[in-house]
């Protein structure tokens, strides 16, 4: 099976044709012959390696009313992703080889993106004892990223053990950095707005204190640490310091933390309730700068679908989290590319190359080059559209971008040479 993409601009550079044969990019050049291949006219479109998400909640098993592996995979493909890491906080928790293999198999069956399960660090996400990390690593799901996301591995001794133990698995612990005693009942960023709105504050220090502790631990034991959804300027500073000292730490930022601030909470509309919370404009600027200079390695969506009844309520009783897969690239175009903070190679690096490297994915995050896997997307960067939650492929509707006009449209996504998205429509 072969496809000829004509006139695409890899990394936004000069237009070329790309020939995809049997899942591999077999030729790149001008005026390539179709020779029976299906032709895709990509004139004016930017070609990028397929995006890799380190942080996706697919909700299956357990909350199939909010999202399934299939609906989440479809949303991911529409967003230009070819691989997503499915977080472990399902019901049952992905803390055994059985559950991670189930999620992995559901992803294979959906066939829209490679669904890479994340394994829980501790049994039941309870933060008490290690889950069978080795069994998950050795399973068909080949787990390399371990996270109790949604919960912090707060016990410092347990965190140290986890960091040490995954060294043998070439794994990484992805920490949800939140000191739980400092965030009891927390509803939003602690600052001027929380004071006025009467919503219990989530102090930046609760995130920064855990990151500071964990980079010291990772440095001490020589292990890899990944920090989930970094949200504060102070966290960026700590990461910059740790990297300068040679600590093997990587970090991600979400699209929503690159764009939105705690001002959104003024409506008390829980579609803007998320953990960690939306912060201040100064934090947003620091996160953008950190992503631009590489202190933050990756954009990760923290795509968190929720059923209507879990969001259509008073703020305090709503579940935290927001959708992200389908708008992630658009948000990065708006917040990073259009202001000149990242070029297209930078986008490919932060949304594909580095996340794939962190997750140890061998066939994703590869360059657009001959002989490489044909995992790529075609983006129309000039297209602008207003987000309509009802039109999303996700089973849930909790998009914080409703009514916002955003740039960029994913026209096509290819997974191993097969179009999962064409003309902006999912192919299955």
């Amino acid at each position: 099976m072969s496809t000829l993409i004509t006139g695409a601009r890899p990394y936004g550079e000069d237009a070329v044709d790309l020939l995809l044969v049997d899942g591999v990019i077999t030729a790149i050049g001008t005026d390539l012959s179709a020779d029976g291949a299906q032709v895709v006219d990509a004139a004016g479109l930017v070609a990028l390696p397929g995006l890799v998400d380190l942080h996706t909640h697919l909700r299956e098993p357990g909350r199939e009313d909010a999202e399934t592996v299939e609906t989440g995979s479809r949303a991911a493909a529409l967003g230009g992703f070819t691989a997503v890491h499915a977080m472990a906080n399902t019901d049952p928790v992905a803390d055994t080889a059985g559950v991670v293999e189930q999620v992995w198999r559901l992803g294979q069956e959906a066939g829209l993106v490679d669904v890479v399960p994340v394994g829980a660090v501790t049994v039941g996400l309870r933060g008490e004892r290690l889950a069978e990390l080795g069994a998950m690593a050795d399973s068909a799901a080949r787990v390399r990223v371990f996270s109790d996301d949604g919960h912090c591995v707060a016990d410092p001794a347990l965190m140290r053990r986890a960091l040490e133990y995954v060294k043998a698995l070439d794994g990484v612990v992805a920490q949800h950095a939140e000191e739980p005693r400092l965030t009891v009942g927390a509803q939003m960023n602690e600052g001027d707005r929380s004071a006025r709105l009467g919503l219990a504050g989530w102090p930046a220090a609760a995130e920064e204190a855990v990151i500071a502790r964990d980079v010291l631990l990772a440095g001490h034991v020589g292990a890899r640490l990944h920090v989930c959804h970094v949200s504060t300027a102070g966290s960026v500073e700590i990461l910059r310091w740790a990297k300068s000292r040679g600590v093997q730490v990587t970090a991600e930022v979400t699209p929503h933390h690159l764009l939105l601030t705690d001002e959104c909470a003024e409506t008390y509309d829980p579609v803007f309730k998320v953990n960690p919370p939306l912060r201040t404009d100064a934090d947003v600027q620091a996160l953008r700068a950190g992503l631009a200079d590489g202190t933050i390695d990756a954009v990760a969506t923290d795509h968190a679908p929720h059923a209507v009844e879990d969001k259509e309520s008073e703020w305090a009783s709503a579940r935290p989290g927001m959708l992200g897969l389908e708008q992630a690239l658009s948000i990065v175009v708006q917040t990073m590319v259009e202001p000149g903070l990242l070029d297209w190679r930078g986008v490919a690096d932060r949304m594909s190359v580095r996340p794939a490297a962190i997750g140890r994915l061998e066939t994703h995050g590869r360059p657009l080059a001959v002989g490489e896997p044909a995992n790529l997307l075609l983006l129309d960067p000039t297209h602008r559209a207003t987000v309509d939650p009802a039109a999303l492929a996700s089973r849930s509707r909790n998009s914080p971008y409703a009514g916002r006009e955003l740039p960029g449209r994913v026209v096509a996504t290819f997974l191993r040479g097969v179009a999962t998205v064409m003309d902006g429509k999912a192919q299955k």
Binding site: Q187, E190, G191, D192, A195, L197, G198, L199, A316
Partner: protein, 306 residues
């Protein structure tokens, strides 16, 4: 006036003054009458939707609506709407389908009245939401201050105690500032919100330092559960440093008044001799609450004046 009263910030100076003036007119209209009732809201329905126990606030609103001849429904839905099954939205739509013209809501979640206001066509009055606001309490406090001191502009008001968790404090900060008063907050730093620096108030930690220049001292209730969460070392220490006793009251200017939104912890934030003194407006506040809430309902529901 806006259609809802969700927070003190919904009232500009003119609106707030209108509420206070209207409350005064209502009080005069009823003074000396045998039948303390106006026909203004006859045929209108006011729902008291209370998710928290609050006997005094509910009774005050109920009395206010009844004195305006409205039909009053008390809907007590204690506990979280989600944990109890029916969502706030479903409850709201049910009440509206029954023909409510106004919903007075007390809820443990900050912002619940704001959510409600997006779902119903009628007016929403916030009767206290979580740790956010309690605007009619601030209105009755302002009314009481004006009644006793004859003015609000330039009046020096000291609010003492658990500002962090107090919706009464928040509403008073914004309303009294709107009306030209100078507000000072005094509390242990643990009971002041991070971000208080952005409020239009002065902040201090020393009660004795501010009392000689205060026209009004408003004591906030200290909840028992704060004592077990290290907000302060002990009730005794709190009382020593931030309680208003007879000795401290003596430091006040001659015509200064002492307020408390109730219910009081006598012996904790306020000594009995202070609560029962001539400076105390605590009983006046309760009575004024009915007049002010009548004014709010009257203005929001736009009843034809008599």
């Amino acid at each position: 006036m806006k259609r809802h009263l969700l927070e003190a910030g919904d009232l500009d100076r003119a609106d707030a003054t209108l509420v206070l003036d209207t409350a005064g007119q209502i009080e005069s209209a009823l003074a000396g009458r045998e039948v303390k009732k106006l026909p203004t809201l006859r045929g209108r329905t006011v729902v008291n939707l209370f998710y928290e126990d609050s006997t005094r606030t509910r009774i005050s609103f109920e009395l206010a609506a009844k004195r305006l001849s409205a039909d009053v429904i008390n809907f007590s839905a204690k506990g979280s709407s989600v944990s109890k099954g029916e969502s706030l939205k479903d409850t709201a739509l049910t009440l509206e389908a029954m023909g409510s013209d106004a919903i007075v809501i007390r809820h443990q979640a900050s912002g619940a009245p704001h959510r409600l206001a997006r779902w119903v066509k009628g007016s929403v009055v916030n009767a206290g939401d979580g740790t956010h606001e309690h605007p009619t309490q601030a209105l009755l406090d302002a009314y009481t201050i004006r009644q006793r001191l004859g003015r609000l502009d330039g009046v020096r008001v000291v609010i003492v105690g658990d500002v962090l968790h107090s919706r009464v404090a928040r509403s008073n900060v914004w309303l009294l500032s709107t009306l030209g008063a100078e507000v000072t907050l005094v509390a242990p730093p643990t009971l002041l919100p991070v971000g208080v620096g952005s409020w239009p108030v002065a902040v201090g930690y020393d009660l004795d330092a501010v009392l000689p220049k205060a026209d009004v001292v408003m004591m906030l209730r200290v909840q028992a559960e704060r004592m077990n969460a290290s907000f302060f070392p002990s009730a005794r220490e709190y009382s020593r440093r931030y309680g208003l006793d007879g000795r401290r009251m003596a430091a006040l200017p001659d015509d200064a008044i002492v307020m408390h939104p109730g219910p009081m912890n006598r012996g904790m934030e306020i000594a009995a001799e202070v609560a029962d003194s001539a400076r105390s407006t605590i009983v006046d506040q309760v009575g004024n609450g009915v007049s002010v809430r009548m004014a709010v309902l009257y203005l929001l529901l736009g009843g034809a004046p008599e």
